[in-house]
Amino acid sequence: MGAMIVARDLVKRYGELTAVDGISFTVEAGECFGFLGPNGAGKTTTIRMITCVSPVTDGSLMVDGMHVQVNPRQIKSVLGVVPQDDNLDPELSVRQNLRAYARYFGLSGRAAEERIDEALELMSLTERQKEKIDALSGGLKRRLTIARGLLNTPRILVLDEPTTGLDPAARHLVWQRLRLLRSQGVTMLLTTHYMEEAAQLCDRVVVIDHGKIIAEGTPQDLVREHAGQDVIEVHATPDERPEVMAQLASLHGVTIEEVEDIVYVYLRGDNGIDPAALEVGAEKLVHRRANLEDVFLRLTGRGLEE
């Protein structure tokens, strides 16, 4: 037990562009650690450095006690990688994909076939093992990619946006299997921009934006710290807006944020305001619990910048 991944002042530059700008974090054994951030924040680049396919520009990065620059082969042998892009082999069947991949880890013969059976079983793919990759749906492909990442019984499972593009049923199935793996003690590192995914799976998360870590903690702590307990979304017409804003300004201990046609009111829960009884004279009020999405949007901005 101990630290599985330790990054210190990690930097990745592509010419003039700094994709990762001096980040430090530690992933402990047995935990599920999440990278949250908008597209282009540097999540995938960090994953690429951890999986030894992209050279580190500066700083230090240790995986399972080894330096990525010194022992890439040994590090890759203890990692299970589930990349964001589908890179299954379209020229091989489901089972052949797994067999070829197992061989890259030096697994072959009976031992490999048994591991393949287990991985197929775990991801509920046993029935589909003879099919061509092109015949699989997005959800099945993703499950196969995860099955492939488990063949070498990895110490760390690295998942880059594991459920992007999946429908809700497929997503929930993937989450359920990942929770099962976590309960078996597999260390997991995942990137996502689905806040629900992070809340469902992660013990700890960091929020990354523009290559820097801007917040770190458990999902609950981050919500409490950056969004409070309750949120009221006030949908006000332009006519109602001045009156609404004046009323909201009279409240104490709340954070108010105007975004386009909605005013968000963040309540900390200790300022004596009863959200259910709040009247501000707007056409529509929505009261809900604060969640990780509020944290994400507050920290990384609601603009459409990329």
Binding site: R73, L92, F105
Partner: protein, 268 residues
């Protein structure tokens, strides 16, 4: 002690080759694909050279009288073997290599203990194997048509691996720098097809001006044709060793180049 700062790009390029036995695993992946589709693929190595042999050997051959006593089909037999060794290894390295880069097959491998240099080595090894498979098939055809005069010709089978490595490394180097599928056509139009017709496979080069012979010495296919011709006729000469040396040297240079260019292509 002072250290000299080397640009990272150069540093990466200058690294020692990192090749392990996992290169064989890369080769095995390609073998598995080939075994999936070989029935559809295996017909071509027979049909094309068969057509060429019939059309040129019998059709055109009737009008041709060689200085030497051999028939025209005996002359082009080794030429066709050499030409298709080149063709198959180049198609595998160029088209195969490019598509495997494009469909991220190598990216998947690189997430495992397989290194980029293992990928390059396994690919060159596979191109060479395709050359061996093709040459073996065509050898039967050429044999049936009576274009083999010596048991020495059997040496062509193991010697199919040499042009396989050479053309595999050359064409994989090109695939590594190719920006699009259509640019692969240039490689064949400018480099492979002229060698197919002009490297001495189908007519003796001494019929042509001297400078063509000088030029031919610099084309890889010429040395393969000459080497094979000595073996099918049963009259190898000392200079054939020079052809082997030429092929080995060019193979080594382009293997090193393929290693460097594939690193450039696959490292992000």
């Amino acid at each position: 002690m002072t250290t000299i700062a080397i640009p990272r790009r150069l540093e990466r390029v200058a690294q020692r080759p990192d090749v392990s036995w996992l290169a064989v695993r890369v080769w095995e992946r390609n073998r598995d694909v080939f075994l999936n589709i070989w029935k559809a693929e295996a017909i071509w190595p027979f049909i094309e050279p068969l057509l060429t042999l019939v059309a040129l050997g019998f059709g055109l051959g009737d009008f041709i009288e060689l200085d030497r006593k051999e028939s025209y089909i005996e002359f082009i037999g080794p030429g066709i073997l050499a030409a298709y060794a080149m063709w198959m290894a180049s198609a595998e390295g160029c088209w195969g290599g490019y598509f495997r880069i494009d469909q991220k097959t190598f990216d998947a491998m690189l997430a495992t203990p397989v290194s980029i240099d293992d990928v390059t080595s396994g690919e060159v090894l596979w191109a060479s194997t395709r050359s061996l498979i093709s040459v073996s098939a065509i050898f039967l055809v050429v044999l049936v048509f009576g274009a083999i005069d010596s048991v020495l010709a059997l040496l062509i089978l193991p010697l199919a691996l040499l042009p396989g490595v050479m053309f595999g490394a050359i064409s994989l180097s090109y695939a590594a720098i190719a920006k699009s599928v259509s640019s692969l056509n240039y490689f064949f139009a400018v480099f492979i097809t002229p060698q197919f017709w002009l490297a001495g496979a189908f007519f003796p080069l001494d019929e042509l001006p001297g400078w063509v012979n000088v030029l031919a010495w610099f084309t890889p296919a010429f040395h393969v044709v000459e080497l094979y011709r000595g073996l099918t006729t049963g009259h190898p000469e000392w200079i054939d060793l020079a052809h082997v040396a030429w092929i080995l040297a060019v193979s080594a240079v382009f293997y090193a180049l393929a290693i460097v260019l594939m690193r450039r292509r696959l490292v992000k």
